[in-house]
Symmetry: C2
Subunit: 106 residues, 2 copies
DNA sequence: GGGATACTTCCAAAATTTTCGAAATACCCA
DNA sequence: TGGGTATTTCGAAAATTTTGGAAGTATCCC
């Protein structure tokens, strides 16, 4: 994963409203949740919610599927796994090796 | 973890420069990295880096320790673990149970 | 004390984000 | 075709973020 992409995804999750939306979708699982259901729970303007959803979708964290007049939103779990992996990745690889001491031979 | 706190941390990581800083610190491990070393690698103004570091520190993702005239920065690993846990947490708990079908008795 | 290095805080301009009403679009049903 | 529900796009104001030069603070060394 590229830093730019990860940053975009983290930025998308870094807004309280979008994070709530995302968590609702994560909790909802494979059934997903309609845009209208999200709006009912959040109590914000439809256009505001639509903008937030758009950003989550642009980053690949959320997917939408139309069912007649309603749009079902779902968390994209593999994308979340990739992002979590990116953050935890390569922990300490540049650290001084455990046995190393000043003046010690390589 | 509260949604507000998690959102602040994600927002802090959601900027390419700050994410790079954070990853450098994660890679650096327990030794950490001086502010000046970060600046050398990033090539940005010292004041800009200082602002970014301040945000990472405010959210609790990064800690600083003074060693003489230099400030050593370190990733706060427990904070990262808590954030990752928050995101993965409660996946699918609201989902329709696997055996559920329309009209099925509870 | 004087002077050097390391880093932060102050200030401010430019860019971006957040918000939502109004208008537009998508789809279904009769 | 006409009308209704669901959702997005347009447009724009207010708030926040990002950036860095200049000035300030902290610590060390002589």
């Amino acid at each position: 994963m590229k830093v730019e992409k990860a940053a975009k995804q983290l930025e998308a999750l870094g807004n309280p409203t979008r994070l709530q939306v995302y968590r609702m979708l994560v909790r909802a699982g494979k059934d997903g949740l309609a845009v209208g259901r999200l709006q009912d729970r959040l109590g914000i303007a439809a256009s505001t919610l639509s903008h937030h959803l758009h950003r989550l979708i642009l980053t690949g964290l959320v997917r939408q599927e139309r069912q007649a007049t309603t749009l079902i939103c779902r968390a994209n779990y593999p994308a979340m796994d990739a992002l979590l992996g990116f953050l935890a990745d390569e922990c300490c690889v540049d650290a001084t090796p455990a046995g190393a001491r000043a003046g010690e031979a390589a």
